[in-house]
């Protein structure tokens, strides 16, 4: 089985990985680059837990071959905020209690960030639509929507 050389930028840093042809982007991010914030929920594109941002667009990393990310800029949850300085979405999620088990949270934050980057003051219907690709088994949806509204309102520092 031949190995391929994958070069791409992850969270602002150029990375070079030897990958197999049938490895998905999810697999490489989690297992080769140890970005375990990217979750494997269903491995079929149905749950959105694997969401990452590729070249400015949120995608399901379980449905992308790693090789398809060659030359691309990837953002995972590890690239959003830091322990010392949370992103306003992260602050809002904490403030509004939008995290229960936390499994969907990385995908929710990334998807919400992608929404706010493109539409800084979304209406509720637009938030629901943008977030419709990520499922939350704990049912935190109402608080997640509220957190996004709070984050987009500019009330948080």
């Amino acid at each position: 089985m031949s190995r391929y050389h994958l070069v791409f930028v992850v969270n602002g840093r150029k990375r070079s990985v030897r990958v197999e042809s049938n490895q998905t982007l999810l697999d490489v991010l989690r297992n080769d680059l140890h970005m375990t914030g990217v979750k494997n929920g269903c491995n079929a594109g149905d749950c959105g837990a694997c969401a990452v941002i590729v070249d400015g667009r949120v995608v399901n990393s379980c449905l992308m071959l790693a090789l398809q990310a060659r030359g691309s800029k990837i953002v995972t949850i590890e690239g959003i905020g830091s322990l010392k300085k949370l992103h306003r979405l992260q602050k809002a999620f904490v403030k509004e209690g939008a995290v229960q088990c936390g499994y969907c949270t990385p995908a929710m934050i990334l998807t919400a960030k992608n929404l706010l980057d493109r539409n800084p003051r979304p209406r509720t219907a637009e938030i629901k639509r943008a977030m419709s690709g990520v499922l939350c088994r704990c049912g935190s949806y109402a608080k997640i929507i509220k957190a996004i509204q709070v984050a987009s309102s500019g009330d948080l520092a």
């Binding site: 042809s21 998905t24 297992n31 491995n43 449905l63």
Partner: protein, 302 residues
């Protein structure tokens, strides 16, 4: 490494080689010389799922996803030309004329936004199934696909390209490069709606696209094209009976009722995971009435 066996979770994919062409020419040369059947990878939202389920067992994939010259939406004279690798999300972002609401309507309910960011027009066409949401729209716009091989291009009507479920007339040495259709005139309206088990992230139980053009003076129907996601043989098709029943008439309640009645004669829905045949048959008639009423209302506003 012990962790490797856990890495892919459910259904690790079988091993295959991947060819990464940098141009259409490279891609076409490769597939024309391939001794075994190659599979073309575009968005991957359908292909990877089917490989993982074991439905497809490719030895080789050709990754077309980086051929950026195949990602565009443009007008050329009276034609709208959509590149094969245009994402569904691109269809939503484009400024369509008022006569063309269908693309925004389909993109809003196409999986979730992340799926719409990945899935491509050509990939949806090649899926050739009742859950391929673009197909009813492409059919009622009387679209054509441009197929390219090293020998040159050929243009085929999308309706002729869909042979049976999951099977199209694209030849092994060809790739779809473009889908094209005539710009809907201002006296027309093209709409799409799908219904299913949820309000998002759902496969269509029934979906319908309609293209209605009214004569400006008489308000009679000049052209009516109606396509459903499945009519016979579980394949997206236009309903000739519905279209014939509407030609030359005013788009009123009587015409709509007759259209729904004609649809029943042609519908042969199958029961599957998206719904029972009985439900889908009834839902299709209701959806037809709903969309024709919507068209009547929107066209009446002009």
């Amino acid at each position: 490494m012990a962790f490797r066996s856990l890495k892919a979770g459910i259904g690790e994919m079988m091993k295959f080689t991947v060819y990464l062409p940098r141009s259409q020419k490279q891609a076409l040369t490769y597939i024309s010389k391939a001794r075994r059947r190659v599979f073309l990878l575009a968005g991957g939202t359908d292909l990877l799922v089917r490989i993982r389920k074991g439905e497809l067992k490719p030895r080789c994939l050709v990754d077309l996803s980086h051929l950026r010259d195949l990602r565009y939406i443009k007008t050329d004279g009276n034609l709208v030309k959509v590149g094969a690798l245009t994402r569904i999300a691109d269809l939503e972002d484009y400024s369509w004329p008022k006569s063309c609401e269908a693309f925004r309507q389909v993109a809003e309910k196409f999986g979730g936004p992340s799926i719409a960011n990945m899935a491509t027009v050509a990939g949806n066409l090649c899926a050739a199934s009742p859950s391929a949401d673009l197909l009813p729209i492409l059919l009622c716009l009387d679209s054509r696909a441009v197929l390219r091989s090293r020998k040159g291009d050929r243009v085929v009507r999308v309706s002729d390209l869909l042979l049976s479920e999951c099977r199209t007339g694209v030849r092994p040495d060809e790739i779809i490069v473009e889908v094209q259709f005539e710009t809907p005139p201002t006296s027309a309206l093209c709409v799409f709606k799908k219904i299913g088990r949820r309000s998002a992230l759902f496969m269509a139980s029934v979906s319908l696209a309609a293209f209605i053009q009214l004569d400006r003076k008489t308000k009679r129907i000049m052209q009516a094209r109606v396509a459903l996601n499945a009519l016979r043989r579980n394949l997206p098709q236009r309903s000739k009976l519905v279209e014939a029943s509407m030609a030359g008439k005013v788009l009123d309640r009587a015409t709509i009722d007759e259209a729904a009645s004609e649809l029943s004669k042609e519908l042969h829905m199958v029961s599957d995971v998206s719904g029972s045949a009985d439900y889908k048959t009834e839902a299709a008639k209701v959806l037809l009435e709903d969309q024709l009423l919507y068209c009547a209302s929107r066209l009446g506003e002009r």
